[in-house]
Symmetry: D3
Subunit: 133 residues, 6 copies
């Protein structure tokens, strides 16, 4: 159970109702995801969050399916069940199978392990891998 | 500075030297990354880690460039400078530009934020996004 | 279910019983929170943890309500449902409404996103924002 | 060093220049923070991120100083040096002293410890601390 | 519910069946843990992961019980219920009692708190505690 | 550089000086670690933190060396360089070599990877691994 009430679609008015309508249309969903129903207590934050979703998730140099996979990997590392479930559903609607999901999670596994190992051992960067100012 | 000595390429013998040679060949690098030089204190762990790298990072349903992007996203969330640098260098050698890297990190930003928000608000999964047993 | 048994209030004796009584009195609760019932297997650790709660959560330069909000933000980032629930209940007893909780979580969202973005991009500190020795 | 170039203020044109100008004006800073100079490679993402900063950080039910403290607490938990430094500088400009910063970090310490303890012990929520649907 | 199907023992063939048999024998379990049943969608990854488990968890300079305790501590910090439960069961089968588990978790609590405090305060390393190249 | 000044040993008076003296004596160090010098801005928090260190790190069912290893593992996962360095120095003073440190970090690697994998795949607990109320 959420720690705040969810503002359902029937109760939404004004800009919240507008954003709800846009979410359903753009995401092609028959419902507004619970996340948006929770943050609708702050309509300006709901609006600015939704605008940012559109900007970040729109296909650019990176295509939409790859963006969904990255979103799932990030959510797995942060331990967010809600996001993993929501975006796995999205990925499956694009034709992903269980083997591809395991292939994705194997990268999460390998690098999460190495990341912590490297932080623990405090290994300096290789000379061949420099940043730039 | 690392908390253990790094076993350099000249000092490596036996299976460690074999793995070092394979790493340079498979990754196409003129050097062995420091990470492997640190874990070489445990040759069996070095070997099994390297075998797993080959399995996980080989192109499968997911291509190599996408795997590198996922590796960078995971490493950013885990806060591992070493891995981000190493794999950004790899990505750049495949022709990635700064705008694409920012496009990638925007997904890390958006979802890391939402992940923590959702964990905080304890939002239940949408009915339309179910797992399976 | 917890991975250790909880030592209930009827079974508590000696210093554990004393700490339990103090917890109920100081927190104004009709029960001892489960967390304390679990760590009571180690009475000295229970005692020193409770002493530290009193020191850290007592109003000082920062008032009690702000401390509760910070505690909830920290717990959201660390993904601890128990703490978020317990301290949201505390915050609500001080008159907080759902909109204020969303306003709080929006900060958790914004900065958790930026934090990971910045770690990923490895942005150097601005010259205008220096620490001191 | 950042893994992407920073787009400096002299090179900025169009919407990037507009956002840069607004950032300096609204934050009252003589420079544009490096974070924004990095994400300016994606002008739409820069714009939507900045719009969201304004919405989330504007005083509402929670005042600006408390928002800065929450931002620092979140950034400490996520381990982001850049954000901690930037927002500590902001907090100090509002008159905060070292003792208040330590009082803030003590809450980060106490709850980060308890958060991990509770996740480890898998303690169920107290009956008195319920969420709502 | 998992986001992928679990490949049960009756359905396993070839190398997956071989690994399953080895897991049951080496771990002394009457069943194959669900984790392995999920990653079996990628037999090479299953095999390389299992080989690495054997290398890492075999007694060396660190004995098996201590390794289980470290595994639980790591899993508590990462917030993984599955691993904490699985390895607590393993630890209990070696004669651990609730007080010892709380003693272990107290270290998780103390250091997770200090870790975040130190990251927040950005305290430089003591001169007496240096790494080496 | 720390974001607060460090209160050095010459400037310490009253209870802070007492705790400083006790820290040097109990830890057998010729200096007070910087962490304590930073939190000394809040003497009651310094005192209660130090009391808790003594309780948690004293040998009990778990011996001191094992406690140091667990502390390092926790600090590696949380990404705290300060704590890893400080406690690795402690461990080395007990005779640990580089191979044992790598053996320890291999567990951090293995389980941090599996932890994130399992959170991502949302694998349910095995029936044979139950908690208790």
């Amino acid at each position: 159970m959420a720690i705040v009430t969810l503002i359902d679609e029937k109760s939404a008015t004004g800009d919240v109702a507008d954003v709800y309508g846009e979410i359903r249309a753009v995401l092609g969903l028959p419902f507004v995801p619970n996340m948006f129903k929770a943050i609708a207590h702050n309509p300006a934050y709901l609006r600015s969050s939704w605008e940012r979703v559109k900007v970040v998730m729109a296909p650019g140099q990176i295509d939409r399916k790859t963006k969904e996979m990255i979103a799932i990997a990030v959510s797995a590392v942060n331990g967010c069940d809600y996001c993993v479930l929501a975006h796995t559903a999205g990925l499956k609607s694009m034709g992903t199978n269980d083997a591809e999901i395991v292939e994705l999670m194997a990268i999460v596994d390998l690098f999460s392990g190495f990341n912590k190992l490297l932080e623990g051992l405090q290994i300096p960067a290789d000379l061949g891998a420099q940043g730039k100012r």
